[in-house]
């Protein structure tokens, strides 16, 4: 395992936003890696820093956001501090992103074919005819009926689910090595969600693309990911294989999250609930960010816990991890 170079390795990444109100530590000491053909799930609630992690990898941060320290290695190549030209040649080519809102990807005043051919020709030396053929194939792959007609459409002529599939087709156009999907199915209905996940799964299997799936929905990620990172207030609090995380969570936050999923509970019974709410990233409590909501917090938690290994590929950031505690 260790001899294989990961497709993407993030090491001790810190992305901070220097605002007038203070420094927002959106991503604070985050490390993970993902191998080719693997699906990594990043789970967290709003404000946990999961999207900013994605933006940092692609170099899409706008001021006042800034990568403070850390490294992002794409197939061994350092991306932190890489030039704008280099990033442009990677983005959409070797690393692609799928956003929650497909209109972040699509230009509303250009036809789909223009946008797709543009993506191909920006990175590869293909003729108009060849890039058209590739676009057709890509639309067919994501299950869009009658691709030749659809290519002539504008984004507003399509439904939300179809736009998201176009965005996915564009992400896969240049057969990237890494795809970062940021809540791609959150705004969609269950049946459309299944379709989208189905396409992503098939494409990753066929092309060996590494997939980073960012979501707040544990039930989706349980069925999709090989490994899971759980983020809370800018930090990874627990990471491990999917089975380990879902069946034997050790961090009180992960336990609470899993306990509060309705399908995990008896029908009609009270759900397990995490008290309180996510703290503001502007003034995080000293020490462990979760301590004010945690049932097991004590004096030790006034000191921030370090991320520690508790088994093969399994890390946890907590002073009181306990495998036997089961929430709910």
């Amino acid at each position: 395992m260790n001899t294989v170079q990961p497709a993407l390795a993030v090491d001790r990444l810190r992305t901070h936003f220097f605002t007038k109100a203070g420094t927002v530590k959106a991503v604070d000491d985050v490390s993970f890696s993902v191998n080719s053909g693997e699906v990594l799930g990043i789970v967290g609630e709003s404000g946990s820093g999961k999207s900013v992690t994605g933006f940092s990898i692609l170099g899409l941060l706008d001021p006042p956001g800034e990568i403070v320290t850390g490294s992002i290695k794409f197939q061994g190549e350092e991306l932190v501090g890489a030039g704008a030209r280099r990033m442009r040649s990677l983005r959409g080519n070797r690393i692609a992103m799928i956003f929650q809102d497909p209109m972040m990807t699509l230009n509303p005043v250009l036809r789909i074919d223009t946008q797709m051919k543009e993506t191909i020709k920006a990175h590869r030396n293909l003729s108009d005819r060849e890039s058209y053929e590739e676009s057709l194939k890509a639309l067919d792959l994501v299950g869009i009926p009658s691709p030749p007609e659809r290519l002539k459409n504008y984004p507003h002529q399509m439904s939300g689910g179809m736009r998201q599939r176009i965005a996915i087709a564009i992400a896969f156009l240049n057969k990237p090595d890494v795809i970062i999907a940021d809540e791609p199915t959150t705004a969609l209905d269950v049946t459309i969600q299944s379709q989208i996940i189905h396409e992503a799964q098939m494409l990753c299997e066929k092309t060996g693309t590494a997939l980073i799936w960012i979501t707040h929905d544990l039930s989706v990620i349980a069925g999709l990911a090989d490994r899971i990172c759980v983020m809370y207030a800018g930090r990874i609090v627990e990471t491990g294989l999917t089975n380990e995380i879902i069946d034997r969570p050790q961090h009180p936050y992960t336990q609470g999250l899993i306990g509060s999923v309705p399908s995990h509970n008896k029908r009609g019974k009270r759900l397990f609930q995490i008290p309180g709410m996510t703290p503001s990233l502007l003034n995080l409590p000293r020490g462990c960010a979760f301590k004010s909501r945690c049932n097991y917090a004590d004096q030790v938690c006034g000191k921030a816990p370090e991320i520690t290994s508790v088994g093969e590929g399994r890390y946890i950031r907590c002073h009181h991890p306990a495998p036997e505690r089961v929430a709910g």
């Binding site: 269950v190 049946t191 349980a222 069925g223 999709l224 999917t242 879902i246 309705p262 609930q273 709410m277």
Partner: protein
Amino acid sequence: MTDILETRKLTKNFVKKLDLAAKIAGHLGANVTEETVYAVDKADIRLVKGEVLGLVGESGCGKTTVGRMVAGILPATSGKIIYKGKNTQSLTGAVLKDYQLSVQMIFQNPFASLNPRMRVETIVGEAARVHGLISSSEFSGYVDDMLLQVGLDPDFKRRFPHQFSGGQRQRLGIARALAVKPELLVCDEAIAALDVSIQAQILNLFMDLKDSLDLTYLFISHDLSVVEHISDRVAIMYLGRVVETARTEALFSGPNHPYAQALLAEIPRLDQRNRRFYTIKGEIPSPLNPPSGCHFHPRCPSATARCRSEVPLLKQVGEDHFSACHLND
């Protein structure tokens, strides 16, 4: 088991009126017609006192429109809403007011449903005072009680909505609805905009309130695992029509309608690993131009010629279990 509310052939069409240019074009002989969206088509639902009816379906299926008609926010195009045995369209005066107060709605977006310029005490207490449920001297204490009931600190009552988080605002929305002593709450995607850990808090609150205040819920959601958790009975809608209703256990263990079967198979669950995600073929057709016969026939794997021509009606297929599918005949 008494029905608190029942809808009979409840229908809502939205007609897009022609603008001036289109009217002129029409006079000149151009082929322009008014567009009609068939949002809800002869929906029959039934709410038993003290139960939670889950109303599920994909976006555009008309579930919110049903909720709004039940809550009296939208007038129905045709059909009846029977509340406690009386047709609500024929109510007048005090009886009508009584019905309007006893059915309250909780909205999806707690950021849009609270007036940002009003203080919490006004938002929560105003309706009760205006309708004479409380006197001005009781106002302050009443607001305190309402806030405590939904788990908020009464000290917050001089604040404005923007000073609260999403979960707290949803609690405010619930307090506002409860302040006029309703018997039926229409919860329209009431937890969809909240974070996972907050969703659990609000769901628990709904269940506690139901027991302590003897409420009935029409719980509208697209999240099937939430509906499965909270509902006693479930109605599934597809493109404006109710296609299946049953008790929750019966529906989730043995859905009858092909759409219900496909929909329930798609629910992501924690205990499924490395699963294959499958798809219902095709997309939801536009309610502007719904398919003939059974609305689901273009996507249905077992559609027959009859499904293309004849609209299926809800028929009993089990105890308290109704389905609208020709395959049952």
